[in-house]
C-alpha cells in the first residue's frame, strides 16, 4: 500500500512544511532524515492524519486521507510517537489493546477477536513477560517496543514512526531496526520512519527522504542518494561516506 503526497502544505506550531510531490513505495522501509526542526515530525503527523494539511492532498492507495473517517484512517495508517507520557498507568496488555480502537464503535469495548489480535502481537514480538506489567515500570527501550506493538495491533498496512531509536542503547536500537526490516519484508508493511542518527540509514532504509527547512532536499533509493555531498548539504557539515564490509559508513 503506497502513500502519495501532492502539493502539500502543512502548518504546525509556527512551522510550515511544503512538499510538491512525493511517493512512498509500498512494502519498503523509507527513512526521513534532516536536521532538528527540518519538518520530519510535521510530515509524519500529516501523513498519519493527526494534523490536517492547509493545502494539497495525501493519498493512501488512491484514497484521500483527509476525507476518511477517523476509524477508517486508523485501519490504514498507524502512528508511533517518539515518547508516550501517560497520565494513567495502564497495564501493558491493555495499552497494546488500545490499537484496536479504530475497529470499535464509541460505546463498545474490545471483543474476543480484539483480544486475540493483541495476544498475537504480544507473542510475535515476544512480549509475554511485559504484558502483565504497568507502562510506567518499563524502560525506555521496552516502551518503544510496546508503542510499536500497539501499532501492530492496529493492523494497518502503513506504519509511521517518529525517531523510534533515539535515546536507546545500541542493543535496543538494533532490535528496533531489525524489527522494522522484518515488518517490511515478512509482513509486507509500508514503513516510514524519521531517523535521528544517519549512521543507521544504510542498514535500515530502502528509500531515503532528505528534509531541510520544511522542503524536500532529495529523495530516492538509499543506494543512490546516500552520498557525502548531499548529506553534507543537508546537515551543513562536511561528511565522508566510506565503504567497509560491503556497507556504507559515515565518517564525520
Amino acid at each position: 500500500m503506497q502513500i502519495r503526497v501532492e502539493r502539500l502544505r502543512v502548518r504546525y506550531e509556527n512551522f510550515e512544511l511544503g512538499v510538491d510531490s512525493l511517493d512512498f513505495p509500498a512494502n519498503r522501509v523509507s527513512a526521513l532524515v534532516g536536521p532538528n526542526g527540518a519538518g520530519k515530525s510535521t510530515l509524519l503527523k500529516a501523513l498519519s492524519g493527526v494534523i490536517k494539511p492547509v493545502a494539497g492532498s495525501i493519498f493512501v492507495d488512491g484514497q484521500e486521507l483527509a476525507r476518511l473517517r477517523g476509524s477508517d484512517r486508523a485501519r490504514l495508517v498507524s502512528y508511533v510517537p517518539q515518547e508516550h507520557s501517560a497520565a494513567l498507568n495502564f497495564r501493558v496488555f491493555d495499552f497494546i489493546l488500545m490499537g484496536r480502537s479504530g475497529y470499535l464503535d464509541i460505546f463498545s469495548s474490545p471483543t474476543r477477536a480484539d483480544y486475540q489480535k493483541a495476544e498475537e502481537v504480544v507473542s510475535y514480538l515476544g512480549l509475554e513477560a511485559l504484558a502483565g506489567r504497568r507502562c510506567q515500570e518499563l524502560s525506555s527501550g521496552e516502551r518503544r517496543i510496546v508503542l510499536i506493538a500497539r501499532a501492530l495491533a492496529q493492523d494497518s498496512k502503513i506504519i509511521l514512526l517518529d525517531e523510534p531509536t533515539t535515546f536507546l542503547d545500541l542493543k535496543h536500537e538494533m532490535e528496533i531496526i531489525n524489527l522494522l526490516r522484518k515488518l517490511a519484508e515478512d509482513r509486507g508493511k509500508t514503513i516510514i520512519t524519521s531517523v535521528h542518527s544517519i549512521d543507521l540509514i544504510p542498514r535500515l532504509a530502502d528509500f531515503l527522504f532528505m528534509i531541510k527547512n520544511g522542503r524536500i532536499l532529495a529523495a530516492g533509493p538509499t543506494i543512490e542518494i546516500f552520498q557525502a555531498e548531499l548529506l553534507g548539504t543537508l546537515f551543513d557539515y562536511p561528511l565522508r561516506v566510506v565503504e567497509a564490509g560491503g556497507r556504507q559508513l559515515i565518517l564525520r
Binding site: G70, Y79, A86, A87, L88, R91, S101, F107
Partner: protein, 340 residues
C-alpha cells in the same frame, strides 16, 4: 499466574462495589430517630411491592421509610455514584488527577443555575435545566480561558477558581435579592444536604443521573484512549474533540442533576477515583463501575453518620469538604513531584 490472580481480585472488588451499596441501602433505612428493625424494613418494602396489608403500609414506620428515608437514601447513593464517576472520567480525559467537578467550576455553575431557577421561577419548574446549562457554561469558560496555556494543569486549576468565584458572586447577588423565606431555603440547600430529598425531586434527577451513568460506563474504554495525548488518540481513530465534549457533557449532566436537588457537595469526585485507581489500576472499564459503587457507599455512609451522630442536620457538604480539602492538598504535594 499473577495476571489471572489480579483479574480475580479485580472481579471480587467489582462485585463488592456493586453489592455493598445495596446492603447499605437496607441498613440505612433502619437508621434514624425512629429505629426500625431490618426485618420490619424488609416486610414494609415487600408489602409495598406486593400490595400487602394496608395497616402495615399506613403505619408511621412505613410512612417514614417511604416518604423520608427512601428518597434520601437513594439520593445519597446516586449523588456518590455521580460525583465519583464524573470525577474519574474528567480526570482521565484531562490527564489531570486534580480535576473534578468542583475544580472545573461545574459545582458552583450548576449551583447558581439551580438557585436562579428557584428564585426566578416557581419550584414546580425543574431546577435541573438551568443547573445543567450553567454548569456547562462554567466548564466551557474554564476550558476556553485556560486553553493554550503552557502549564495546563496549573492554568485549569487557577481558571477554575476564578470561574467558581464568579458564580459564587452571582449566587451572592441572588441571595441578596431573594426574599427572606427563599433565602433561608437557599442557604441550607447550598451547604449540601440530602435531608430535603423528595420523590418529585428524584423523579427529575434520578433518570438523568442513571442515564448519564450508563453512558459514561459504556464509554469506559473510550475514556481510556482519550487519556492518551490528543495526537495518539486521533491516530488510533478517535474523533478526539467530539468524544471529549460528549464525556464533559455527560459528567456535567449527572453532577448538575445532583447539585440541583442536593446543593454543593464537593471533593467526593476527587477522593473516590483516586482510591479506586489505587485498588484496581487505571483501566476505566473497571475504575468507573467500582468508583460508582464505592462513591455511592461512602456518600450514604457519610449521610448515615450525620443522621445518627448529630442531634441536628449537619450539612453533608461541609463534611466532605472538611475531609476532601486536606486530601486535595496531599495530592497537590504529590503532583509537584510526579506530574508536570
Amino acid at each position: 499466574m499473577t495476571g489471572s490472580k489480579s483479574k480475580n481480585k479485580n472481579r471480587a472488588i467489582l462485585y463488592i462495589a456493586i453489592l455493598f451499596p445495596l446492603l447499605l441501602l437496607f441498613v440505612s433505612l433502619c437508621l434514624g430517630t425512629l429505629r426500625v428493625s431490618l426485618r420490619e424494613v424488609l416486610e414494609i418494602l415487600l408489602a409495598r411491592i406486593s400490595g400487602g396489608p394496608a395497616d402495615l403500609l399506613t403505619s408511621p414506620a412505613a410512612n417514614i421509610i417511604f416518604n423520608i428515608r427512601l428518597p434520601r437514601v437513594l439520593l445519597a447513593l446516586l449523588a456518590g455514584a455521580a460525583f465519583s464517576v464524573s470525577g474519574a472520567s474528567l480526570q482521565s480525559i484531562f490527564r489531570n488527577p486534580l480535576v473534578n467537578e468542583y475544580i472545573l467550576g461545574v459545582s458552583f455553575g450548576a449551583g447558581f443555575g439551580a438557585a436562579a431557577s428557584m428564585v426566578l421561577f416557581s419550584r414546580n419548574f425543574p431546577p435541573q435545566i438551568l443547573a445543567f446549562a450553567c454548569g456547562l457554561l462554567a466548564v466551557v469558560l474554564v476550558l476556553a480561558i485556560s486553553e493554550g496555556a503552557r502549564n495546563t494543569l496549573v492554568a485549569v486549576l487557577l481558571t477554575g477558581i476564578i470561574v467558581s468565584a464568579l458564580f459564587q458572586a452571582l449566587l451572592s447577588t441572588l441571595e441578596f435579592i431573594a426574599s427572606p423565606y427563599a433565602l433561608q431555603a437557599l442557604f441550607f440547600w447550598l451547604l449540601g444536604s440530602f435531608s430535603q430529598a423528595t420523590w418529585p425531586d428524584l423523579a427529575w434527577s434520578a433518570p438523568l443521573i442513571l442515564a448519564g451513568l450508563v453512558f459514561l460506563l459504556k464509554l469506559g474504554w473510550r475514556i481510556n484512549v482519550l487519556s492518551l495525548s490528543d495526537d495518539e488518540a486521533r491516530s488510533l481513530g478517535l474523533a478526539v474533540k467530539r468524544e471529549r465534549i460528549l464525556v464533559i457533557c455527560l459528567a456535567t449532566l449527572i453532577t448538575s442533576a445532583v447539585v440541583a436537588i442536593a446543593g454543593i457537595i464537593g471533593w467526593v469526585g476527587l477522593i473516590v477515583p483516586h482510591a479506586v485507581r489505587g485498588l484496581v489500576g487505571s483501566d476505566n472499564r473497571l475504575v468507573l463501575p467500582v468508583s460508582a459503587g464505592l462513591g455511592a457507599s461512602l456518600m450514604l455512609l457519610a449521610d448515615d453518620l450525620i443522621r445518627t451522630l448529630f442531634p441536628y442536620e449537619f450539612p453533608v457538604g461541609i463534611l466532605t469538604s472538611l475531609v476532601g480539602i486536606p486530601f486535595f492538598l496531599y495530592l497537590i504535594r504529590r503532583a509537584r513531584t510526579s506530574w508536570s
